[in-house]
Amino acid sequence: MKILATYNIKGGVGKTAAAVNLGYLAARDGLRVLIADLDPQAAATYLLRVRPRVKGGGRALIQGSRELDAAIKGTDFENLDLLPADFTFRNLDLMLDATRKPTRRLAQLLRPLAGFYDVAFLDCPPGISLLSESVLHAADTVLVPIIPTTLSLRTLDQLTDFISGFDGHRPAVIAFCSMIDRRKRLHKEIAERLPAERKDVAATAIPALSMIERMAVERSPVAAFAPRSVAARAYAQLWAEVRAHQP
């Protein structure tokens, strides 16, 4: 099972939209996919029409008294399952801190699912915390949506520096430009220049489109309700690129 995490220190950059759309596309390719919504805001859970509740809350999952497997819900799409978020996930940091090896705990919890899924997408809350550190240790690839500004690039560098300091397993980092506003010259310039300059930035950029915002109305991945839209094509291209990077 490949573990892909959508992560950024900043919020509102398109992490959840990426996790839901790429997860859907992977499932459509015939892969058995799990999306784990680790964000207490439960946006991915909402988009997939699942109620944000896990019996026993985050504590039961982290302590292992309830297996992840039992909390998983099927979505409306073949091959695509969801570990829904729960409001108690806001305290995942504290719960992890109470375990013996907090940064390895998430990988340990996901291990029993390896035989049942080909890909797991971890949709992380923003911020840098024990949870995000645990996610980075568990992931094979970290997908980082970045809004093309100088400050965003600085946080990407901080992330790659942080990961390079890991002992043993280090996830690959694939950043991609997200929420590109075509009217802003700076956005356009950075989005075109970055993939050429940096190996860790994908060639595909996801534009800021109302169709993507519409996901919250349709409560569905964009490729499911508007398969021929520009947005759906952009995610398909991004998925092809991400998939090609998987060993």
Binding site: R49, R51, A71, I72, K73, G74, T75, D76, R219
Partner: protein, 512 residues
């Protein structure tokens, strides 16, 4: 990973099934169109001895639009699928495309081939059942079987994590007029149209005997059951579907010969003697192919034990074995299609079905006690006389006597306490396994010598293959010596006072 489905039969001719379901579930759930209806052809697959059915599993090959799909479902909700377009049945599980489904099937079916158990064509329509968030919580499948024609079947399958909702839906549907819960599985329904049921075949001698019945009547029932098993395995042996058809056929012949030998005096004069010869002919016919089967089935394990040669060096030997097996199998198939074989089985069936109970004669309980007691004493006497210096032939003879005792225990199993019977069989089996390994090793070493000679004569063998065959023979010889050294301990267990007491208890007249 999945959850269990709820099945129903819909027999309300007044309204469409979807209307009935919508009315039953509103307003808590709504029913919306799912996948388009399609005609699917289904072939249920299992081994001849129903290994999947015995494990609580059903395997279907479903074809319609698009590539064919294999679907394995379990009564506990297990569900695995794999595309398998172009597979010709019967097929061994290892011929299927690689993946978790093949791994699961290989572990269950082992040497047995998957073959069609039943076929059907259906019009299938799937609906989604939505909750108030418009989230699909269950799939509703409407299956209208066209060939054979059967009542409309409904099934409710929970989406993962929504079993409670699916259970509620099922409970609600069960109260609806015209909806009958607990439909028999489709395979059972299809087979029932032909008067059959899954799991019907077993190679065991499952005859229930009354201790007070005349011994001749009981023996006739056992012999008839053996003949049924023998005949059930002829077509699969002739078509060479898998090696177990011949195995079961051969065991039926051996059991028949044993029944005639040990209980022949219960039959009218001359009958046992006549058919013992006829069944010896049949048994001898099956030996060459079965010996080669055993060799080929254990080939990979044997090749893995080589010490100085590489398994690849054995390829010419394997090819030679395969060629010889093909020839022997053809010879066997010809004999099984011959008039002599047809006359043997039909004549035998007439002879045993027309058997009348004698005016005077023992009950089966008494005869069974006598037969088992005698067979047990023979094994004890023969085994007790074997020393470390005894020739191999003595062990072979003992093996045959053990088989006779084992078969006698099987014929009359229904007369005894199951636990005591099981224990007796277990003790005997331990001894049989050791003797079997010894015999198989001897046969295989002999075959290697013969085949090496044949290959040399045909100038069809590289030196590396001969060396590897020598290495293989040496490894088999090592196993043979190990089995020989285990014999004394095994026999001591079997002949222990406690085990003897158990057999003596079995060998008492249960009707007395």
């Amino acid at each position: 990973m999945g959850d269990a489905s709820h099945n129903f039969v819909f027999t309300d001719g007044e309204r469409p099934v979807t209307d009935a379901v919508r009315e039953a579930l509103a307003p808590r759930f709504s029913v919306v169109a799912g996948r388009r209806s399609r005609t699917v052809r289904r072939t249920w697959l299992d081994t001849f001895d129903w290994r999947l059915h015995q494990a609580g599993l059903t395997l279907e090959y479903v074809s319609g639009r698009g590539p064919g799909e294999l679907v394995l479902t379990g009564c506990g909700g297990e569900r695995m699928t794999a595309t398998a377009g172009g597979t010709r049945w019967p097929a061994l599980a290892d011929a299927l495309p690689g993946g978790p489904l093949r791994d699961r099937l290989e572990a269950l079916t082992e040497v047995r081939a998957l073959l069609p158990a039943a076929r059907a064509a259906s019009s299938v329509t799937e609906f989604r059942v939505h909750n108030t968030d418009d989230k699909t919580v269950a799939w509703l499948t409407v299956d209208q079987m066209l060939t054979p024609v059967l009542p409309t079947r409904l099934s409710v399958t929970a989406v993962r994590g929504y079993q409670a909702q699916a259970d509620w839906i099922a409970r609600r549907l069960a109260t609806e007029p015209g909806v009958t819960p607990g439909a028999v599985p489709p395979l059972d329904a299809v087979l029932a149209t032909a008067g059959q049921a899954p799991g019907q075949y077993t190679g065991k001698v499952d005859v229930t005997l009354d201790p007070a019945m005349p011994a001749r009547t009981a023996l006739a029932a056992v012999l008839l059951r053996l003949l049924d098993t023998l005949e059930a395995n002829v077509a699969g042996t002739v078509r060479d579907v898998d090696t177990e058809f011949l195995h079961d056929l051969r065991v039926s012949v051996r059991r028949t010969r044993t029944a005639l030998k040990l209980g022949g005096d219960l039959l009218p004069p001359g009958l046992a003697a006549e058919y013992r010869l006829a069944f010896k002919w049949l048994g001898d016919l099956t030996t060459p192919t079965r010996d080669l089967d055993v060799h080929l089935l254990t080939f990979a394990a044997g090749a893995a034990t080589l010490t100085s040669a590489s398994p690849a060096d054995l390829v010419p030997f394997h090819d030679h074995l395969t060629r010889r097996r093909r020839l022997e199998q053809r010879r066997l198939a010809r004999a099984l299609r011959s008039a002599r074989f047809a006359k043997l089985t039909s004549g035998w069936r007439v002879a045993i079905t027309e058997l009348k109970p004698p005016k005077r004669g023992p009950t089966v309980a008494r005869a069974a006690a006598r037969i088992i007691g005698r067979a047990h004493r023979r094994v004890l006497a023969l085994g007790g006389a074997i020393t470390d210096d005894s020739p191999a032939q003595n062990l072979h003879d003992l093996r045959k006597r053990c088989k006779e005792l084992r078969y006698a225990l099987e014929f009359f199993a229904s007369l005894y306490d199951p636990a005591a019977h099981r224990q007796a069989v277990r003790e005997l089996k331990g001894l049989q396994d050791t003797l079997g390994t010894f015999q198989d090793c001897q046969v295989q070493q002999q075959e290697i010598r013969v085949i090496a000679g044949e290959m040399m004569a045909a100038r069809d063998v590289p030196a590396t293959a001969l060396l590897a065959m020598g290495d293989l023979s040496a490894q088999i010889g090592r196993r043979e010596r190990q089995a020989r050294s285990e014999f004394a301990g095994r026999f001591a267990d079997f002949a222990s006072p406690r085990a003897q007491a158990r057999f003596r208890a079995l060998a008492t007249d249960t009707s007395a």
